[in-house]
Subunit: 194 residues, 2 copies
DNA sequence: CGCGGGTTTGATGATGCTCAAGCCCGGTGG
DNA sequence: CCACCGGGCTTGAGCATCATCAAACCCGCG
């Protein structure tokens, strides 16, 4: 199962990994299986690990004062789930993260990850790229949230992450888009006919 | 004027800067004055520099198909303005960045900044912290955009960046919040009375 | 068969947008 | 000194979008 993460890092780096480096990476990660709906992180807890998803799907969300869930982030195979804010600052998280499907993940602490980044060039390469990619993705989503209407946000999602539409039920997608499930249903009906 | 950036870096680092390092930092930045409304970056251009604001205020925004501006970032003294996506990938920017007030800035290319980060420990410390801070800020704003109504988004802004409310006119704040200027005016009236 | 989770649909209402008018205020020029 | 202008803010009326709520439907599964 650790093969996956080796291939993943290697895919982002020009430098290739030595046998020794591969060992060090493998020993830094802790495999863990999550059942459907099992929490990886709950609001109020401090996030100790980052989770790399080998198989399955997770969601990160807040729960507002009315008890409504708002999905901040969806993650599937070869994606990461964690709360960097809590992990970095050691403060209680504002988010929940749970497994939407049964999920195999590889966990790693911030310290261990930092070690890998500083000592293994290929991981460092990955890290630099990933920083940018994450930031750009969040910024683009913010831009869409502010400037597009519900319908156009849906089209953007369809264009950017079509795999989400296959993978998650409609009410999850609606929450990700910041709209009501009923509204999403109507949008979809319109687009099929139009 | 370059003093400011030295103090700025120093403020984020435990390590202190040597005279030589200070020289190297100073020579990496290019001072530039922007007049009111002067562009630092226009949609379609590639972003070559990052801008550190010594004095003044800038805004980063998109213009949609109807010609409406949507502000995705406001920056004042000791903040940065740039389009990391364009700068990193070398692709044309989707954003405009201009000076809202007359602004003194220090410009730096990506390569020069990379040099500073790799060769000067204090700058590296700053860089690591800044990555996280930026990411966290954008993620929090995304969360607010998705899960809060217009009024609550305004309160959050009031709480988080009260200086913006002093510094920018109301229609700019409205655009930053993703709401109409008329709506913001009504929100403010309600809160004064309530 | 009946249950649970998810989706669709209609009726209704709240929220926020659009447009237009009017106000305030500081700056400019007669 | 006053008239005028421009930019920004406020306000009202009407409208579009999206949320809410309730009912019905669909479908896989015990």
């Amino acid at each position: 199962m650790c093969d996956t993460i080796i291939k993943y890092f290697q895919g982002y780096a020009a430098t290739s990994l030595s046998a020794d480096e591969i060992d060090r990476i493998n020993s830094a990660f802790i495999p863990k299986r999550f059942r459907k709906r099992q929490y990886f992180l709950q609001e109020g807890d401090v996030c100790k690990y980052g989770a790399f998803i080998v198989k399955g799907a997770m969601r990160q969300y807040t729960v507002d004062s009315k008890g409504e869930e708002h999905i901040i982030h969806l993650a599937i195979e070869n994606w990461w789930a964690n709360d960097r804010e809590s992990q970095k600052t050691g403060t209680p998280s504002k988010y929940f993260i749970d497994a939407w499907e049964e999920t195999d993940a590889l966990l790693i602490t911030r310290d261990r990850m930092y070690e890998l980044i500083t000592n293994i060039p290929a991981v460092k390469e990955w890290s630099l790229k990933m920083e940018e990619i994450h930031f750009i993705a969040v910024q683009r989503r913010l831009n869409e949230a502010i400037s597009l209407c519900a319908e156009d946000r849906y089209y953007e999602l369809e264009r950017t992450y079509p795999e989400f539409l296959q993978r998650f039920p409609q009410h999850i997608i609606a929450s990700y888009l910041g709209i009501n499930r009923d509204t999403l249903s109507r949008i979809r009906r319109r687009t099929v006919k139009g």
